[in-house]
Protein backbone atom coordinates (compact mmCIF):
# COMPACT_ATOMS: atom_id res chain seq x y z
CA UNK A 1 0.00 0.00 0.00
CA UNK A 2 2.80 2.38 0.86
CA UNK A 3 4.21 2.27 -2.67
CA UNK A 4 1.16 4.28 -3.74
CA UNK A 5 2.49 7.13 -1.69
CA UNK A 6 6.03 7.07 -3.04
CA UNK A 7 5.23 9.79 -5.62
CA UNK A 8 3.86 11.93 -2.80
CA UNK A 9 7.11 11.55 -0.90
CA UNK A 10 9.07 12.48 -4.00
CA UNK A 11 6.82 15.45 -4.48
CA UNK A 12 7.43 16.63 -0.93
CA UNK A 13 11.17 16.32 -1.43
CA UNK A 14 11.17 18.18 -4.73
CA UNK A 15 8.84 20.82 -3.32
CA UNK A 16 11.11 21.32 -0.33
CA UNK A 17 14.12 21.58 -2.59
CA UNK A 18 12.45 24.15 -4.82
CA UNK A 19 11.36 26.16 -1.83
CA UNK A 20 14.47 25.94 0.31
CA UNK A 21 17.29 25.95 -2.23
CA UNK A 22 16.77 29.51 -3.55
CA UNK A 23 16.61 30.81 -0.01
CA UNK A 24 19.80 29.02 0.93
CA UNK A 25 21.48 30.21 -2.26
CA UNK A 26 20.42 33.76 -1.62
CA UNK A 27 21.68 33.56 1.90
CA UNK A 28 25.00 32.03 0.90
CA UNK A 29 25.75 33.83 -2.33
CA UNK A 30 24.34 37.32 -1.90
CA UNK A 31 26.56 40.06 -0.44
CA UNK A 32 25.45 40.83 3.10
CA UNK A 33 26.49 44.07 4.75
CA UNK A 34 23.86 44.79 7.36
CA UNK A 35 23.72 47.97 9.41
CA UNK A 36 21.20 49.18 11.91
CA UNK A 37 19.35 51.41 9.44
CA UNK A 38 18.88 48.58 6.98
CA UNK A 39 17.61 46.20 9.62
CA UNK A 40 15.15 48.52 11.34
CA UNK A 41 11.56 48.42 10.12
CA UNK A 42 10.55 51.29 7.89
CA UNK A 43 7.30 53.02 8.74
CA UNK A 44 7.04 56.32 6.81
CA UNK A 45 10.21 57.58 8.39
CA UNK A 46 8.95 57.24 11.98
CA UNK A 47 9.96 54.80 14.61
CA UNK A 48 7.54 51.85 14.57
CA UNK A 49 4.60 52.61 16.87
CA UNK A 50 3.58 49.13 17.84
CA UNK A 51 3.87 45.45 17.05
CA UNK A 52 2.83 44.51 13.55
CA UNK A 53 0.58 41.77 14.92
CA UNK A 54 -2.90 42.96 15.72
CA UNK A 55 -5.30 41.49 18.21
CA UNK A 56 -8.16 39.57 16.67
CA UNK A 57 -11.75 40.13 17.53
CA UNK A 58 -13.15 37.38 19.75
CA UNK A 59 -15.89 36.79 17.22
CA UNK A 60 -13.46 35.02 14.92
CA UNK A 61 -13.12 32.43 17.61
CA UNK A 62 -16.77 31.45 17.44
CA UNK A 63 -16.64 31.23 13.68
CA UNK A 64 -13.50 29.11 13.83
CA UNK A 65 -14.90 26.70 16.40
CA UNK A 66 -18.13 26.24 14.47
CA UNK A 67 -16.02 25.63 11.39
CA UNK A 68 -14.04 22.91 13.18
CA UNK A 69 -17.21 21.12 14.19
CA UNK A 70 -18.53 20.98 10.68
CA UNK A 71 -15.09 20.13 9.37
CA UNK A 72 -15.11 17.06 11.61
CA UNK A 73 -18.52 16.17 10.32
CA UNK A 74 -17.18 16.29 6.76
CA UNK A 75 -14.30 14.03 7.77
CA UNK A 76 -16.84 11.38 8.71
CA UNK A 77 -18.41 11.62 5.27
CA UNK A 78 -15.34 10.42 3.36
CA UNK A 79 -15.21 6.77 4.44
CA UNK A 80 -18.98 6.67 4.28
CA UNK A 81 -18.98 7.74 0.66
CA UNK A 82 -16.35 5.11 -0.15
CA UNK A 83 -18.32 2.18 1.27
CA UNK A 84 -21.89 3.38 0.80
CA UNK A 85 -22.76 0.61 -1.65
CA UNK A 86 -21.57 -2.09 0.71
CA UNK A 87 -23.15 -0.90 3.92
CA UNK A 88 -26.54 -0.39 2.29
CA UNK A 89 -29.57 1.12 3.93
CA UNK A 90 -28.25 0.59 7.42
CA UNK A 91 -25.19 2.72 6.81
CA UNK A 92 -27.25 5.29 4.97
CA UNK A 93 -29.67 5.67 7.86
CA UNK A 94 -26.77 5.83 10.32
CA UNK A 95 -25.33 8.79 8.46
CA UNK A 96 -28.73 10.45 8.09
CA UNK A 97 -29.14 10.29 11.86
CA UNK A 98 -25.65 11.66 12.37
CA UNK A 99 -26.38 14.54 10.06
CA UNK A 100 -29.81 15.11 11.60
CA UNK A 101 -28.26 15.58 15.04
CA UNK A 102 -25.86 18.12 13.63
CA UNK A 103 -28.57 19.86 11.64
CA UNK A 104 -30.39 20.44 14.93
CA UNK A 105 -27.26 22.24 16.06
CA UNK A 106 -27.09 24.13 12.81
CA UNK A 107 -30.67 25.33 13.10
CA UNK A 108 -29.97 26.36 16.68
CA UNK A 109 -26.93 28.42 15.77
CA UNK A 110 -28.70 30.01 12.86
CA UNK A 111 -31.69 31.01 14.94
CA UNK A 112 -29.44 32.25 17.73
CA UNK A 113 -27.71 34.55 15.28
CA UNK A 114 -24.30 32.97 15.72
CA UNK A 115 -23.82 33.12 11.98
CA UNK A 116 -24.60 36.84 11.73
CA UNK A 117 -21.69 39.19 11.52
CA UNK A 118 -23.25 42.18 13.10
Amino acid sequence: MLENYFPVLLFILVGLAVGVLPMVMGWVLAPSRPDSEKLSPYECGFEAFEDARMKFDVRYYLVAILFILFDLEIAFLFPWAVVLEEIGTFGFVAMVLFLAILVVGFVYEWMKGALDWE
Binding site: F90, I101, G105, Y108, W110, M111
Partner: protein, 477 residues
Protein backbone atom coordinates in the same frame (compact mmCIF):
# COMPACT_ATOMS: atom_id res chain seq x y z
CA UNK B 1 -23.23 -7.49 11.37
CA UNK B 2 -25.83 -8.48 13.90
CA UNK B 3 -29.33 -7.04 13.71
CA UNK B 4 -29.83 -4.00 15.84
CA UNK B 5 -31.68 -4.33 19.13
CA UNK B 6 -32.76 -0.87 20.15
CA UNK B 7 -35.03 -1.74 23.06
CA UNK B 8 -32.38 -1.63 25.82
CA UNK B 9 -31.26 1.79 24.62
CA UNK B 10 -34.74 3.30 24.45
CA UNK B 11 -34.21 5.68 27.40
CA UNK B 12 -31.03 7.02 25.79
CA UNK B 13 -32.77 7.52 22.46
CA UNK B 14 -35.66 9.23 24.17
CA UNK B 15 -33.46 11.63 26.10
CA UNK B 16 -31.41 12.44 23.00
CA UNK B 17 -34.51 13.15 20.91
CA UNK B 18 -36.09 15.31 23.58
CA UNK B 19 -32.85 17.17 24.23
CA UNK B 20 -32.79 18.09 20.55
CA UNK B 21 -36.42 19.22 20.83
CA UNK B 22 -35.58 21.40 23.84
CA UNK B 23 -32.72 22.91 21.86
CA UNK B 24 -35.03 23.73 18.97
CA UNK B 25 -37.67 25.12 21.31
CA UNK B 26 -35.01 27.36 22.80
CA UNK B 27 -33.86 28.43 19.34
CA UNK B 28 -37.32 29.31 18.07
CA UNK B 29 -39.38 30.38 21.07
CA UNK B 30 -36.69 31.89 23.32
CA UNK B 31 -38.96 31.12 26.27
CA UNK B 32 -36.86 29.31 28.89
CA UNK B 33 -40.02 28.44 30.82
CA UNK B 34 -40.92 25.98 28.08
CA UNK B 35 -37.44 24.47 28.13
CA UNK B 36 -37.75 24.04 31.89
CA UNK B 37 -41.07 22.23 31.72
CA UNK B 38 -39.98 20.10 28.79
CA UNK B 39 -36.77 19.12 30.55
CA UNK B 40 -38.63 17.94 33.62
CA UNK B 41 -41.09 16.02 31.44
CA UNK B 42 -38.19 14.44 29.54
CA UNK B 43 -36.56 13.22 32.73
CA UNK B 44 -39.85 11.85 34.03
CA UNK B 45 -40.50 10.15 30.68
CA UNK B 46 -37.03 8.63 30.64
CA UNK B 47 -37.70 7.32 34.13
CA UNK B 48 -40.92 5.71 32.98
CA UNK B 49 -39.23 4.07 30.00
CA UNK B 50 -36.37 2.81 32.14
CA UNK B 51 -38.83 1.36 34.64
CA UNK B 52 -40.85 -0.35 31.93
CA UNK B 53 -37.83 -1.88 30.23
CA UNK B 54 -36.04 -2.88 33.43
CA UNK B 55 -35.44 -6.56 33.93
CA UNK B 56 -33.01 -8.68 35.83
CA UNK B 57 -30.07 -10.02 33.90
CA UNK B 58 -27.71 -8.51 31.42
CA UNK B 59 -28.82 -7.56 27.93
CA UNK B 60 -26.14 -6.51 25.49
CA UNK B 61 -26.80 -4.33 22.46
CA UNK B 62 -24.83 -2.62 19.69
CA UNK B 63 -22.27 -5.43 19.36
CA UNK B 64 -21.53 -5.64 23.04
CA UNK B 65 -20.89 -1.93 23.45
CA UNK B 66 -24.01 -1.31 25.47
CA UNK B 67 -25.22 -3.26 28.45
CA UNK B 68 -28.54 -3.00 30.18
CA UNK B 69 -28.73 -4.52 33.66
CA UNK B 70 -30.49 -3.84 36.91
CA UNK B 71 -27.57 -1.98 38.48
CA UNK B 72 -27.57 0.36 35.51
CA UNK B 73 -31.34 0.81 35.63
CA UNK B 74 -31.34 1.70 39.32
CA UNK B 75 -28.46 4.13 38.91
CA UNK B 76 -30.14 5.72 35.91
CA UNK B 77 -33.39 6.15 37.78
CA UNK B 78 -31.62 7.83 40.67
CA UNK B 79 -29.74 10.04 38.21
CA UNK B 80 -32.99 11.23 36.63
CA UNK B 81 -34.44 11.91 40.05
CA UNK B 82 -31.34 13.82 41.09
CA UNK B 83 -31.44 15.87 37.89
CA UNK B 84 -35.14 16.64 38.34
CA UNK B 85 -34.60 17.80 41.90
CA UNK B 86 -31.48 19.77 41.01
CA UNK B 87 -33.21 21.56 38.14
CA UNK B 88 -36.24 22.33 40.31
CA UNK B 89 -34.08 23.77 43.09
CA UNK B 90 -32.15 25.89 40.64
CA UNK B 91 -35.02 27.64 38.90
CA UNK B 92 -35.27 30.74 41.07
CA UNK B 93 -31.51 30.94 41.55
CA UNK B 94 -30.97 30.88 37.80
CA UNK B 95 -33.52 33.51 36.94
CA UNK B 96 -32.07 35.88 39.52
CA UNK B 97 -28.67 35.57 37.88
CA UNK B 98 -29.63 35.83 34.20
CA UNK B 99 -28.77 32.16 33.72
CA UNK B 100 -32.33 30.99 33.23
CA UNK B 101 -31.70 30.14 29.62
CA UNK B 102 -32.64 27.19 27.47
CA UNK B 103 -28.97 26.26 27.17
CA UNK B 104 -28.81 25.43 30.85
CA UNK B 105 -31.53 22.82 30.51
CA UNK B 106 -30.18 21.46 27.25
CA UNK B 107 -26.78 20.99 28.83
CA UNK B 108 -28.30 19.31 31.88
CA UNK B 109 -30.12 16.90 29.57
CA UNK B 110 -26.95 16.15 27.63
CA UNK B 111 -25.07 15.64 30.88
CA UNK B 112 -27.74 13.18 31.94
CA UNK B 113 -27.41 11.45 28.57
CA UNK B 114 -23.66 11.24 29.11
CA UNK B 115 -24.22 9.65 32.51
CA UNK B 116 -26.64 7.14 31.02
CA UNK B 117 -24.09 6.21 28.36
CA UNK B 118 -21.43 5.78 31.04
CA UNK B 119 -23.71 3.72 33.25
CA UNK B 120 -24.56 1.42 30.36
CA UNK B 121 -21.09 1.20 28.83
CA UNK B 122 -19.50 -2.18 28.33
CA UNK B 123 -16.84 -1.04 25.91
CA UNK B 124 -13.89 1.28 26.42
CA UNK B 125 -15.01 3.48 23.55
CA UNK B 126 -18.57 4.08 24.74
CA UNK B 127 -17.36 4.54 28.28
CA UNK B 128 -14.98 7.23 27.15
CA UNK B 129 -17.50 8.94 24.89
CA UNK B 130 -20.09 9.00 27.67
CA UNK B 131 -17.54 10.48 30.01
CA UNK B 132 -16.62 13.17 27.52
CA UNK B 133 -20.25 13.99 26.85
CA UNK B 134 -20.85 14.43 30.57
CA UNK B 135 -17.64 16.39 31.16
CA UNK B 136 -18.13 18.71 28.21
CA UNK B 137 -21.62 19.58 29.41
CA UNK B 138 -20.40 20.16 32.94
CA UNK B 139 -17.50 22.41 31.91
CA UNK B 140 -19.95 24.54 30.01
CA UNK B 141 -22.43 24.64 32.86
CA UNK B 142 -19.73 25.88 35.22
CA UNK B 143 -18.77 28.64 32.79
CA UNK B 144 -22.35 29.60 31.99
CA UNK B 145 -22.29 32.58 34.33
CA UNK B 146 -20.09 34.49 31.96
CA UNK B 147 -19.58 37.70 33.86
CA UNK B 148 -18.36 35.95 36.99
CA UNK B 149 -14.58 35.76 37.13
CA UNK B 150 -14.68 33.04 39.78
CA UNK B 151 -16.92 30.84 37.69
CA UNK B 152 -14.77 31.30 34.59
CA UNK B 153 -11.66 30.43 36.56
CA UNK B 154 -13.34 27.37 38.01
CA UNK B 155 -14.44 26.27 34.55
CA UNK B 156 -10.92 26.69 33.25
CA UNK B 157 -9.45 24.60 36.08
CA UNK B 158 -12.13 22.00 35.66
CA UNK B 159 -11.51 21.81 31.95
CA UNK B 160 -7.72 21.52 32.16
CA UNK B 161 -7.71 18.96 34.95
CA UNK B 162 -10.62 17.08 33.42
CA UNK B 163 -8.77 16.87 30.12
CA UNK B 164 -5.70 15.60 31.95
CA UNK B 165 -7.79 12.94 33.65
CA UNK B 166 -9.37 11.91 30.36
CA UNK B 167 -5.87 11.64 28.93
CA UNK B 168 -4.83 9.36 31.79
CA UNK B 169 -7.86 7.19 31.33
CA UNK B 170 -7.38 7.01 27.58
CA UNK B 171 -3.70 6.14 27.94
CA UNK B 172 -4.49 3.36 30.38
CA UNK B 173 -7.20 2.03 28.10
CA UNK B 174 -4.89 2.08 25.10
CA UNK B 175 -2.30 0.04 27.01
CA UNK B 176 -4.96 -2.43 28.05
CA UNK B 177 -6.10 -2.57 24.44
CA UNK B 178 -2.56 -3.20 23.28
CA UNK B 179 -2.32 -6.02 25.78
CA UNK B 180 -5.68 -7.67 25.33
CA UNK B 181 -6.46 -6.80 21.73
CA UNK B 182 -10.02 -5.80 22.52
CA UNK B 183 -11.95 -2.79 23.70
CA UNK B 184 -14.91 -4.84 24.82
CA UNK B 185 -15.00 -5.35 28.56
CA UNK B 186 -16.20 -8.95 28.38
CA UNK B 187 -13.31 -9.83 26.07
CA UNK B 188 -10.85 -7.75 28.08
CA UNK B 189 -11.66 -9.67 31.22
CA UNK B 190 -11.09 -12.98 29.42
CA UNK B 191 -7.76 -11.78 28.04
CA UNK B 192 -6.60 -10.29 31.32
CA UNK B 193 -7.00 -13.68 32.97
CA UNK B 194 -4.03 -14.94 30.96
CA UNK B 195 -2.23 -11.65 30.43
CA UNK B 196 1.19 -10.51 31.57
CA UNK B 197 1.05 -8.76 34.89
CA UNK B 198 3.53 -5.86 34.81
CA UNK B 199 2.01 -4.33 31.71
CA UNK B 200 -1.45 -4.86 33.13
CA UNK B 201 -0.46 -3.09 36.32
CA UNK B 202 0.93 -0.22 34.28
CA UNK B 203 -2.27 0.25 32.33
CA UNK B 204 -4.27 -0.20 35.48
CA UNK B 205 -2.41 2.62 37.23
CA UNK B 206 -3.48 5.05 34.54
CA UNK B 207 -7.05 3.80 34.44
CA UNK B 208 -7.37 4.05 38.21
CA UNK B 209 -5.78 7.50 38.22
CA UNK B 210 -8.24 8.67 35.57
CA UNK B 211 -11.18 7.25 37.50
CA UNK B 212 -9.90 8.80 40.74
CA UNK B 213 -9.74 12.19 39.06
CA UNK B 214 -13.33 11.88 37.93
CA UNK B 215 -14.51 10.67 41.32
CA UNK B 216 -12.47 13.37 43.05
CA UNK B 217 -10.60 11.23 45.54
CA UNK B 218 -7.19 12.09 46.99
CA UNK B 219 -4.51 12.44 45.72
CA UNK B 220 -6.43 13.49 42.60
CA UNK B 221 -8.83 15.76 44.45
CA UNK B 222 -7.26 19.18 43.80
CA UNK B 223 -10.00 20.31 41.47
CA UNK B 224 -12.95 19.52 43.74
CA UNK B 225 -12.89 22.43 46.23
CA UNK B 226 -12.13 25.08 43.61
CA UNK B 227 -14.81 23.92 41.22
CA UNK B 228 -17.44 23.42 43.91
CA UNK B 229 -16.66 26.84 45.29
CA UNK B 230 -16.29 28.72 42.01
CA UNK B 231 -19.22 27.29 40.09
CA UNK B 232 -22.63 28.92 40.49
CA UNK B 233 -24.35 27.14 43.37
CA UNK B 234 -27.04 25.73 41.11
CA UNK B 235 -24.36 24.05 39.01
CA UNK B 236 -22.45 22.83 42.06
CA UNK B 237 -25.71 21.27 43.19
CA UNK B 238 -25.92 19.34 39.95
CA UNK B 239 -22.22 18.38 39.77
CA UNK B 240 -22.25 17.21 43.36
CA UNK B 241 -25.11 14.76 42.94
CA UNK B 242 -25.89 12.83 39.76
CA UNK B 243 -22.38 12.57 38.19
CA UNK B 244 -21.19 10.71 41.29
CA UNK B 245 -23.57 7.91 40.38
CA UNK B 246 -22.12 7.71 36.90
CA UNK B 247 -18.59 7.77 38.28
CA UNK B 248 -19.48 4.90 40.58
CA UNK B 249 -20.93 3.04 37.61
CA UNK B 250 -17.75 3.32 35.54
CA UNK B 251 -15.65 2.24 38.51
CA UNK B 252 -17.82 -0.86 38.71
CA UNK B 253 -17.76 -1.45 34.96
CA UNK B 254 -14.05 -0.95 34.51
CA UNK B 255 -12.58 -2.43 37.65
CA UNK B 256 -15.11 -5.06 38.61
CA UNK B 257 -16.57 -6.06 35.24
CA UNK B 258 -13.49 -5.51 33.11
CA UNK B 259 -10.43 -5.95 35.28
CA UNK B 260 -11.54 -8.24 38.04
CA UNK B 261 -8.65 -10.69 37.51
CA UNK B 262 -6.35 -7.84 38.60
CA UNK B 263 -8.29 -7.30 41.80
CA UNK B 264 -5.20 -7.63 43.99
CA UNK B 265 -3.56 -4.73 42.18
CA UNK B 266 -6.43 -2.30 42.22
CA UNK B 267 -7.47 -3.14 45.75
CA UNK B 268 -4.17 -1.77 47.03
CA UNK B 269 -4.48 1.39 44.95
CA UNK B 270 -8.04 1.98 46.11
CA UNK B 271 -7.04 1.37 49.73
CA UNK B 272 -4.33 4.02 49.57
CA UNK B 273 -6.63 6.49 47.85
CA UNK B 274 -9.45 5.80 50.30
CA UNK B 275 -7.26 6.42 53.34
CA UNK B 276 -5.82 9.60 51.83
CA UNK B 277 -9.27 10.87 50.90
CA UNK B 278 -10.68 10.24 54.34
CA UNK B 279 -7.73 12.01 55.86
CA UNK B 280 -7.48 15.02 53.56
CA UNK B 281 -11.22 15.43 53.11
CA UNK B 282 -12.14 15.35 56.77
CA UNK B 283 -9.18 17.34 58.08
CA UNK B 284 -9.32 20.06 55.45
CA UNK B 285 -13.08 20.45 55.80
CA UNK B 286 -12.65 21.49 59.42
CA UNK B 287 -10.69 24.55 58.38
CA UNK B 288 -13.18 25.90 55.86
CA UNK B 289 -15.32 28.94 56.48
CA UNK B 290 -17.18 28.61 53.20
CA UNK B 291 -19.96 26.05 53.23
CA UNK B 292 -19.55 25.09 49.56
CA UNK B 293 -15.84 24.48 50.09
CA UNK B 294 -16.53 22.52 53.25
CA UNK B 295 -19.02 20.34 51.42
CA UNK B 296 -16.47 19.86 48.63
CA UNK B 297 -13.94 18.46 51.09
CA UNK B 298 -16.68 16.39 52.64
CA UNK B 299 -17.36 15.00 49.14
CA UNK B 300 -13.73 13.88 48.93
CA UNK B 301 -14.08 12.07 52.24
CA UNK B 302 -17.35 10.46 51.17
CA UNK B 303 -15.91 9.29 47.88
CA UNK B 304 -13.06 7.74 49.85
CA UNK B 305 -15.64 5.90 51.91
CA UNK B 306 -17.31 4.75 48.72
CA UNK B 307 -14.03 3.23 47.52
CA UNK B 308 -13.83 1.24 50.74
CA UNK B 309 -17.01 -0.54 49.73
CA UNK B 310 -15.70 -1.28 46.25
CA UNK B 311 -12.36 -2.59 47.44
CA UNK B 312 -14.02 -5.00 49.85
CA UNK B 313 -14.56 -7.00 46.66
CA UNK B 314 -17.69 -8.90 47.60
CA UNK B 315 -21.35 -8.64 46.74
CA UNK B 316 -21.90 -7.11 50.13
CA UNK B 317 -19.19 -4.53 49.47
CA UNK B 318 -20.44 -3.58 46.02
CA UNK B 319 -24.03 -3.24 47.13
CA UNK B 320 -22.91 -1.25 50.18
CA UNK B 321 -20.99 1.09 47.86
CA UNK B 322 -24.06 1.42 45.63
CA UNK B 323 -26.26 2.20 48.61
CA UNK B 324 -23.65 4.69 49.77
CA UNK B 325 -23.50 6.57 46.48
CA UNK B 326 -27.28 6.73 46.12
CA UNK B 327 -27.79 8.07 49.63
CA UNK B 328 -24.85 10.42 49.19
CA UNK B 329 -26.53 11.90 46.12
CA UNK B 330 -29.66 12.44 48.21
CA UNK B 331 -27.77 14.16 51.03
CA UNK B 332 -25.68 16.25 48.65
CA UNK B 333 -28.84 17.46 46.95
CA UNK B 334 -30.24 18.46 50.33
CA UNK B 335 -27.14 20.33 51.45
CA UNK B 336 -26.44 22.21 48.23
CA UNK B 337 -30.15 22.64 47.66
CA UNK B 338 -30.33 24.59 50.90
CA UNK B 339 -27.44 26.81 49.79
CA UNK B 340 -29.27 27.51 46.55
CA UNK B 341 -32.62 28.01 48.27
CA UNK B 342 -31.29 30.52 50.78
CA UNK B 343 -29.41 32.53 48.15
CA UNK B 344 -31.15 35.44 46.54
CA UNK B 345 -30.33 38.05 43.96
CA UNK B 346 -26.92 39.51 44.70
CA UNK B 347 -26.35 37.33 47.73
CA UNK B 348 -24.93 33.84 48.04
CA UNK B 349 -25.70 31.98 51.25
CA UNK B 350 -22.44 30.11 51.03
CA UNK B 351 -20.51 31.15 54.12
CA UNK B 352 -20.90 29.26 57.34
CA UNK B 353 -21.60 32.56 59.09
CA UNK B 354 -24.65 33.08 56.90
CA UNK B 355 -26.28 30.14 58.64
CA UNK B 356 -25.90 31.59 62.12
CA UNK B 357 -29.16 31.55 64.00
CA UNK B 358 -31.14 30.15 61.11
CA UNK B 359 -33.35 28.36 63.62
CA UNK B 360 -34.59 31.63 65.11
CA UNK B 361 -35.89 32.85 61.75
CA UNK B 362 -36.71 29.77 59.74
CA UNK B 363 -37.02 26.86 62.15
CA UNK B 364 -38.23 24.36 59.55
CA UNK B 365 -35.40 25.12 57.10
CA UNK B 366 -32.92 24.82 59.96
CA UNK B 367 -34.42 21.44 60.87
CA UNK B 368 -34.12 20.18 57.30
CA UNK B 369 -30.53 21.36 57.09
CA UNK B 370 -29.77 19.79 60.45
CA UNK B 371 -31.16 16.45 59.32
CA UNK B 372 -28.99 16.53 56.21
CA UNK B 373 -25.89 17.52 58.18
CA UNK B 374 -26.41 14.84 60.83
CA UNK B 375 -26.91 12.31 58.08
CA UNK B 376 -23.71 13.39 56.32
CA UNK B 377 -21.95 13.02 59.67
CA UNK B 378 -23.23 9.46 59.84
CA UNK B 379 -25.34 9.69 62.97
CA UNK B 380 -28.32 7.38 63.55
CA UNK B 381 -31.21 7.37 62.83
CA UNK B 382 -30.36 9.09 59.57
CA UNK B 383 -29.53 7.26 56.38
CA UNK B 384 -25.88 8.30 56.39
CA UNK B 385 -25.41 6.02 59.37
CA UNK B 386 -26.62 2.93 57.52
CA UNK B 387 -24.57 3.82 54.48
CA UNK B 388 -21.42 3.92 56.57
CA UNK B 389 -22.44 0.89 58.59
CA UNK B 390 -23.00 -1.39 55.60
CA UNK B 391 -19.69 -0.36 54.04
CA UNK B 392 -17.87 -1.03 57.30
CA UNK B 393 -19.60 -4.39 57.71
CA UNK B 394 -18.56 -5.41 54.21
CA UNK B 395 -15.03 -4.19 54.88
CA UNK B 396 -14.69 -6.17 58.09
CA UNK B 397 -16.30 -9.14 56.41
CA UNK B 398 -13.59 -9.02 53.74
CA UNK B 399 -10.87 -8.92 56.39
CA UNK B 400 -9.87 -5.26 56.12
CA UNK B 401 -10.20 -4.54 59.81
CA UNK B 402 -7.48 -1.87 59.94
CA UNK B 403 -9.11 0.07 57.13
CA UNK B 404 -12.44 -0.05 58.93
CA UNK B 405 -10.82 1.32 62.07
CA UNK B 406 -9.22 4.19 60.13
CA UNK B 407 -12.54 4.93 58.46
CA UNK B 408 -14.34 5.11 61.79
CA UNK B 409 -11.69 7.39 63.31
CA UNK B 410 -11.83 9.85 60.45
CA UNK B 411 -15.61 9.77 60.34
CA UNK B 412 -15.63 10.78 63.98
CA UNK B 413 -13.25 13.64 63.21
CA UNK B 414 -15.46 14.54 60.26
CA UNK B 415 -18.58 14.65 62.40
CA UNK B 416 -17.16 17.76 64.05
CA UNK B 417 -17.61 20.08 61.10
CA UNK B 418 -21.09 18.87 60.30
CA UNK B 419 -22.10 19.38 63.90
CA UNK B 420 -20.59 22.85 63.79
CA UNK B 421 -23.13 23.80 61.13
CA UNK B 422 -25.91 22.52 63.39
CA UNK B 423 -24.48 24.46 66.30
CA UNK B 424 -24.30 27.66 64.23
CA UNK B 425 -27.92 27.32 63.23
CA UNK B 426 -29.29 26.55 66.68
CA UNK B 427 -27.06 28.17 69.28
CA UNK B 428 -25.58 31.28 67.66
CA UNK B 429 -27.10 34.71 67.44
CA UNK B 430 -28.68 35.45 64.07
CA UNK B 431 -26.48 37.10 61.56
CA UNK B 432 -27.16 40.72 60.72
CA UNK B 433 -27.63 39.76 57.11
CA UNK B 434 -31.03 38.13 57.21
CA UNK B 435 -31.63 35.20 54.93
CA UNK B 436 -34.77 35.64 52.94
CA UNK B 437 -35.48 32.49 50.99
CA UNK B 438 -36.56 33.41 47.51
CA UNK B 439 -37.82 30.05 46.29
CA UNK B 440 -41.40 29.16 45.65
CA UNK B 441 -43.60 26.97 47.79
CA UNK B 442 -43.12 23.88 45.60
CA UNK B 443 -39.35 24.12 45.93
CA UNK B 444 -39.75 24.45 49.67
CA UNK B 445 -41.91 21.35 49.71
CA UNK B 446 -39.38 19.44 47.64
CA UNK B 447 -36.58 20.50 49.93
CA UNK B 448 -38.57 19.36 52.95
CA UNK B 449 -39.22 16.06 51.22
CA UNK B 450 -35.50 15.74 50.55
CA UNK B 451 -34.69 16.30 54.22
CA UNK B 452 -37.41 13.93 55.37
CA UNK B 453 -36.19 11.37 52.85
CA UNK B 454 -32.87 11.34 54.65
CA UNK B 455 -34.71 10.55 57.86
CA UNK B 456 -37.20 8.06 56.44
CA UNK B 457 -34.56 6.10 54.56
CA UNK B 458 -32.60 6.03 57.78
CA UNK B 459 -35.55 4.60 59.70
CA UNK B 460 -36.47 2.12 56.97
CA UNK B 461 -33.29 1.39 55.02
CA UNK B 462 -34.20 -2.20 54.23
CA UNK B 463 -36.03 -1.78 50.88
CA UNK B 464 -33.25 0.26 49.28
CA UNK B 465 -30.56 -2.00 50.76
CA UNK B 466 -32.36 -5.04 49.39
CA UNK B 467 -32.77 -3.38 46.00
CA UNK B 468 -29.06 -2.56 45.81
CA UNK B 469 -28.11 -6.08 46.85
CA UNK B 470 -30.46 -7.58 44.27
CA UNK B 471 -29.27 -5.24 41.52
CA UNK B 472 -25.62 -6.02 42.21
CA UNK B 473 -26.23 -9.75 42.37
CA UNK B 474 -28.00 -9.84 39.03
CA UNK B 475 -25.52 -7.49 37.37
CA UNK B 476 -22.09 -8.61 38.54
CA UNK B 477 -20.87 -12.05 37.67
Amino acid sequence: MTPLNLTPALPEIFVLALACVVLLVEAFSKKPEWSYTLTQLTLVGAGAITLLTAEAGKVYAFNGMFVDDLMGDVLKLVSYAAAIVAVAYSRAYLSERAMFRGEYFVLVLFAVLGMMVMISASHFLTLYLGLELLSLSLYTLVALQRDSMVASEAAMKYFVLGALASGFLLYGMSILYGMTGSLELTKVVAAVEQGSSSLLAFGLVFVVAGLAFKLGVAPFHMWVPDIYHGAPSAVTLFIGSAPKLAAFAIVMRLLVDGLHPAVGDWQQMLAIMAVLSLMIGNLAAIMQSNLKRMLAYSTIAHMGFLLLGVLADSYAGYSAAMFYVITYALMSLGAFGMVVYLSRAGFEAENLDDFKGLNARHPWLAAVMAMVMLSLAGLPPFVGFYAKLTVLQALVGAGWLWLAVIAVIFSLIGAFYYLRVVKLMYFDAPHANDLAPSGEADVRALLSLNGLGVLVLGLVPQPLLALCAYAIQTSIQ
